[in-house]
């Protein structure tokens, strides 16, 4: 296929032991040790309080990484089309609904129901940003990160300007946890531009290939990458953190991968 080109202008990361992009970058460059801790999820600061009360952890996760990436990219969320990508969405909410529906009283909470849509984070995001700019929400099971990245890159190539990718996955509660093992909450956001910006971090040239996906050097981060669909992007972040001119492969639809040529901008 033709290569798709974009410039990374901002990054957001949240995961176990990963508080944000600067810290993740320091861990990847061995300037800081990796210390495992639960994923900390702040309340979505940009949402009005009435809406904020209705949100669960998955919305917080998407907001945390999305807002960090937008801030770094110096882009107003109101101006930013977004591709949300998640393998499983809100497992807590889904569990509560299934539990209620299996009980004697099936009356659902209206909030639980409207939060059950896969695009709930996208809905809250557009409300918080007060924007009519489009977004979409993608799922491709274990390939959700790569599918979301492809969607974002095609939007940029067709429409120009910037698009954000907000990829996130949250662990399921039991009993779903046994059927779908996501070990921790993890989110990764990129603000991508069609053209280089003064603060661009790296240029990406992306094509579809086959072969094995690359691994992250640090063992603890590799464990996250191997187990959480949204964390597939850690390989890309490692190349950006180390300011390497290199090519990385990210798992797509087996046996396919996305081959990403990374060139630092500074």
């Amino acid at each position: 296929m033709n290569e798709l080109v974009a410039y990374v202008a901002g990054i957001g990361v949240r995961g176990p032991g990963l508080a944000d992009w600067p810290q993740t970058e320091a861990v990847m460059c061995a300037l800081q040790p990796y210390v495992r801790s639960a994923t900390l999820l702040p309340a979505p600061e940009t949402l009005p309080p009435t809406e904020r009360r209705r949100t669960g952890r998955v919305v917080r996760l998407a907001f945390a990484v999305g807002l960090e990436a937008a801030r770094q990219a110096r882009t107003e969320p109101a101006q930013l089309p977004v591709v949300f990508a998640s393998s499983g969405g809100d497992g807590d909410n889904c569990h509560e609904i299934c539990q209620t529906l299996a009980s004697a009283n099936r009356a659902l909470s209206p909030t639980r129901f409207h939060n059950s849509v896969h695009n709930a984070p996208a809905g809250y995001w557009s409300i918080a940003a007060g924007t009519q700019v489009p977004s979409t929400t993608i799922c491709a099971y274990d390939a959700s990160f790569a599918a979301g990245l492809l969607e974002a890159l095609t939007q940029i190539a067709v429409h120009g300007g910037a698009t954000a990718l907000i990829a996130y996955d949250h662990d399921y509660p039991p009993p779903l946890r046994a059927a779908r093992i996501i070990p921790a909450a993890f989110g990764l956001a990129l603000v991508l531009h069609a053209s280089p910006q003064p603060h661009s971090l790296a240029q990406l040239r992306v094509g579809i290939d086959t072969g094995p996906a690359d691994r992250v050097e640090l063992q603890e981060l590799e464990a996250l990458r191997a187990a959480i669909p949204a964390a597939q992007g850690l390989v890309l972040l490692e190349a950006i953190a180390k300011r390497q001119t290199t090519t990385v492969s990210i798992a797509y639809l087996e046996p396919q991968t996305l081959r990403i040529a990374v060139t630092p901008c500074r």
Binding site: M1, N2, L4, E51, R54, S87, G88, G89, C94, I97, C98, Q99, L101, A102, R106, A107, L108, S109, P110, R112, F113, H114, N115, S116, V117, H118, N119, A120, A122, G123, Y124, S126, I127, A129, T131, Q132, V133, P134, T136, T137, I138, C139, A140, Y141, S144, A147, L150, E151, T154, Q155, A157, V158, P174, P175, L176, A178, A179, R180, I208, Q256
Partner: protein, 402 residues
Amino acid sequence: MTPLFLTSFTATSCLGTGLRAMSAALHNTHTGLAPCRFEDVELDTWIGAVPEIEHAALPVRWQRFECRNNRLALLGLGQDNFMAAVADCVSRVGAHRVGLFLGTSTSGILQTELAYRNRDSESGALPASFHYAGSHNAFSAAILARELLGIQGPTAVVSTACSSSAKAFGSAQRMIELGIIDAAVVGGVDSLCLTTLYGFHSLQLTARRPCRPFAADRDGISIGEAAAFVLLEKSPARNCESAIALLGVGESNDGYHLSSPHPQGLGARLAMQAALSAAGLEAAAVGYINLHGTGTTSNDSAECTAVTSVFGATVPCSSTKGATGHTLGAAGALEAVICALALRDQLIPGAPNTGPLDPTLELNYCTHSAPQPISYALSNSFGFGGTNCSLVFGRLPLGAAP
């Protein structure tokens, strides 16, 4: 955008399996809605069920995909020689050059709901037969369809509630426009489940009688289920005098509320304008609008405001949800197929069940199906989260540019 031709399409809903049944129902303004007798649901509402699903168990080799949604997907793919058309396309352009973009809202969640009734009494575990990737995950129908159709190009599921399968057209169109693929299967599959029945009921949005979009006495939605698929290609099928093409896609958000539309239909208006602009058409060129028209008080009034602000009040409009029910994530693809039939048959589909119209909604709302020359049709799909998508289709004389 460059027109993309619908070289094959099919739909299965409560109106029947395949195009012949749907076309007959649309010509005669028939409804497929019936009182809710789904599972052990005790709700005073009507639904649009596909009875053939009950007898459409998946073949043994697809057992891991067993769930109502994938039964419906397989049933739908099996109609109208659709699979043969895809196989022909794959052989012409190559498996890697054909993409797959599906929309679903609830995927196989019914299977999970039923599994929760059969948890182990001691450990709470789900039954061993529960297969997360095969039924629960939103991508499951795409894995099945990819294997079944022999597609190896880019594949994704769009899950944006009731705009899902309309937005899937946008994802496919961008990929084709960039030359990443030459063709794409675009579709939507959503099936009945307890989550949506009890969920919409909790919001007091399920109608007690068959849904009556734009009627003075409308009182909510009738939930339906459907599988609809379209093969999009850069060239029209051979040996036809005219061809149906996707001409424009427009997407927007309301940025207003998670489950209520913007009262003035701001996002809806922007989506329609973006779709017209992508198609390079003036509003006056559109001869039929298939409205989102769910039958809720708020949707129909907001959509009316949005439509009249773009098109005025004379363009023929209808919602076909009184015929099919609201098929949620499948509605975009289902109503794309209805627009394709309207263009093919030169027919304004009517709106069964809708009696006296709401006098405050000043649209040219067509309750009875009628023959009418139509060159261009627009379809609206809006969803929870404030997501909006409009699609423009046209009937093009062969070899001519729009």
